[in-house]
């Protein structure tokens, strides 16, 4: 349950940016969350409500772009969607990660 602490980091960054831009209210926060980032999106959404209370982001909307876990075969170059195993679904060789570990704040919308 580190999602609360992740959400606090998100709010920190969002508030910092909002203040730098002389905003008074954060209307929404957009994130990119990889399927293999170790973060549970439901828990993140729950944490958002708790953490934003009494802040300039209270009542804001959380927009999450979930990024699939994808690999690229080191032998045949085929790109594939992984479940948990980083194994090529064409030739069975191992792959390298090309997406799915993202944990980024993309943008905020402010008033």
């Amino acid at each position: 349950m580190h999602e609360v602490s992740i959400m606090m980091s998100i709010l920190d960054l969002a508030i910092e940016q909002a203040r730098e831009n002389s905003a008074e209210k954060i209307q929404n926060i957009s994130l990119e969350v990889g399927m293999k980032s170790g973060v549970v999106i439901d828990a993140l959404e729950f944490a958002f409500e708790v953490v934003t209370k009494n802040s300039m982001a209270e009542g804001a909307t959380l927009i999450i772009d979930s990024i699939p876990y994808r690999g690229e075969c080191v032998v045949c170059g085929h790109q594939f969607v992984c479940d948990d195993f980083l194994v090529c679904d064409k030739c069975g060789n191992f792959g390298k990660i090309i997406s799915g570990q993202e944990l980024r704040i993309k943008s905020i919308e402010v008033d």
Binding site: S5, L13, N21, L31, V51, N54, E109, D111
Partner: protein
């Protein structure tokens, strides 16, 4: 409590029993929201930053600090009860005279593990995270001030027993080490793939118990390789010492700091 878990406002982080200074709270109640906001409605501000960028910056600071002192650092992550502390005791007993080791112990409560490490013959600092489920770079930064860096070549951070949450936090280590033990089952690497995916090394502990268990070392290693093809795997036993020399020799080969101290 702020950066950590937040599930308990009354929780606090302690290092060797003393309260640690935490990040500020997000208290915006002092702001005056009464004035007009004309012409500013609905502006989009692009940020494009890693959510954990602040932690990562602090982790990099820790990494540089350790490098200046020629210290090699490992972050050990496992479920509770996999034998992290017992493995450390074994390594300290067998190699502590050749290689000065210090340990940062992370637990929710008690300094039992730090006491065990000191008894085994190494320097130890205990972090009590209270309600939090993981260590972060800020806690390590504070703990480093209590370590005798001149007398340390190898620093091991024993994270809070948890295979999920600590995975996301860079602490400034050179190697992330995952530990599982044979009684946890051969499919543990597949059940908790996120840890394996980010780890450089996997220690499979308690291999001395394999004769009494339905546990195939071969299957466990094959599964681990499917999750992370690049992971280095060492089957070990803290109890018998089996496999520890192979891990130790490999470790020494990973860093000039360690090699020069033997």
């Amino acid at each position: 409590m702020c950066l950590d878990c937040g599930c308990s406002e009354t929780g606090e982080v302690k290092i060797d029993g003393q309260k640690m200074e935490l990040y500020h709270h997000h208290d915006d109640t002092h702001h005056d929201h009464s004035h007009h906001t004309e012409g500013k409605s609905g502006r989009e501000i692009s940020i494009q930053r890693d959510i954990l960028s602040k932690n990562n910056e602090l982790a990099q600071h820790n990494r540089e600090h350790l490098q200046v002192h020629n210290i090699f650092c490992m972050n050990w992550i496992s479920a509770p009860g996999s034998g992290k502390t017992a493995l450390l005791e074994r390594i300290i007993q067998d190699y502590g005279s050749k290689l000065p080791i210090s340990v940062i112990e992370g637990d929710q409560q008690t300094d039992n593990d730090a006491q065990r490490i000191v008894k085994a013959g190494a320097d130890a600092v205990q972090i009590n995270t209270g309600a939090a489920c993981h260590l972060d770079a800020n806690m390590i930064h504070h703990a480093l001030h209590r370590i005798n860096l001149q007398q340390t070549r190898l620093l091991v951070i024993e994270n809070v027993g948890n295979m999920v949450c600590p995975t996301a936090y860079d602490l400034g280590e050179n190697l992330k080490v995952a530990i599982i033990s044979a009684p946890e089952g051969e499919d543990k690497p597949a059940k908790y793939p996120d840890l394996l995916l980010t780890a450089n090394v996997l220690l499979i502990n308690k291999v001395d118990l394999i004769p009494y268990l339905d546990f195939s070392l071969e299957n466990c290693i094959a599964l681990s390789n499917k999750v992370n093809p690049r992971i280095q795997i060492f089957p070990v036993s803290a109890k018998t010492g089996e496999g520890i020399p192979a891990f130790y020799d490999w470790l020494i080969s990973q860093s000039v700091y360690l090699g020069s101290s033997t």
